[in-house]
Symmetry: C2
């Protein structure tokens, strides 16, 4: 194994370290975050930090870093309280990645990246092309004191799912949707198995393989 | 699209809703969390909530939910301040899933699930079979007030990577490592592309396809 110590980490070239640490956090679902400001100017940003915080109430968090391209997103959320998470298939890889470019505030990434806006109940702006969409209501912003990064906590208000993706038990099949690692490397998931509930002293069984 | 409203969500059967909300948070890297208590009793738990919080210092968070199987893990972290994240390949799918079973505190999931302990510097317990391993130092536990879930923040102390997985630019290739969605469905990543840095008014280029 290659070993990288804490002091090695501190001495690495900045770009190398950023790439290393980003990719060490693993491969994760890509979400496009849709927002509007109070003048209904829309914004779209790409993240991979959506995290399940609880099912009752249905809370998801995501990480907003200081001085990143997501600043417009966080400003809009704090202004209007509403935002959306949108999962797209690999067909939209270039469009999704393009939303990481630093557009000025008066340009909408929806138009610039080739996505259509879908306004719902006058306050949610979804990506029309997305396969799975969630409307979120902002609850809390928690600042991590070590580096001023924010955990943005919200509650799911509504969900839209392509019918073929919703299974009988409530499981949402995300086959063919975009995931990424680091800042530029994209993946799709390949399903390998569904396993039985794990109990001590019995081996888990493959339910699908 | 199938629409599920906020009131629909509240009225869903509990098990259906748990499956739905868990899978809606997306597919994510599986990490095995290794800890020891002050008497050096080891513990291993499975999570998929490792989240990048920053590269300088190198901070990762993960979510510890109240009253879950991860309780021993959090207790050990608060007792000793150290823990490890371990990524394994799909060869270890059954072993990894088995670590979600509720073993009593005096049983080590390392032994029960067929993993070997690898002690480093007398304070980190790694999974010997893992392809990528990180030693973490506990910094802060932030409780999300809506549901008493904890965000556990730590700093990377050391990293071990299989040589073939570390690329020239610092990118860690996680091909063939386990990811999951919800509580029981496992995936491996299929790489589709690396894209050039996105800039306004120019289309991103495929660097690898």
């Amino acid at each position: 194994m290659i070993q990288i110590s804490g002091s090695d980490l501190k001495n690495l070239d900045k770009r190398y370290r950023t790439t290393l640490i980003n990719s060490l956090s693993g491969i994760r679902q890509v979400a496009l975050v849709g927002t509007m400001d109070r003048n209904r100017q829309s914004n779209l940003s790409i993240i991979n930090s959506v995290t399940h915080l609880g099912a009752e109430p249905s809370l998801f968090g995501y990480i907003s870093r200081p001085h990143t391209v997501e600043r417009h997103t966080l400003e809009n959320i704090l202004e209007t309280n509403y935002y959306t998470f949108n999962f797209v298939t690999q067909n939209f890889i270039k469009n999704a990645h393009q939303s990481s470019a630093r557009y000025p505030k008066n340009k909408s990434e929806f138009k610039e990246c080739g996505f259509q806006e879908e306004i719902f109940e006058n306050q949610f702006v979804f990506v029309k092309e997305a396969s799975v969409k969630m409307g979120m209501k902002f609850l809390e912003k928690i600042t991590i004191k070590q580096n001023k990064t924010d955990l943005v906590v919200g509650e799911i208000q509504n969900v839209f799912i392509e019918p073929s993706r919703l299974e009988k038990d409530g499981f949402v099949n995300l086959d063919n949707t975009l995931m990424n690692s680091g800042l530029d490397t994209y993946y799709v998931p390949e399903k390998i198995a569904k396993l039985s509930y794990a109990k001590p002293n019995s081996e888990p069984q493959f339910l699908i393989y």
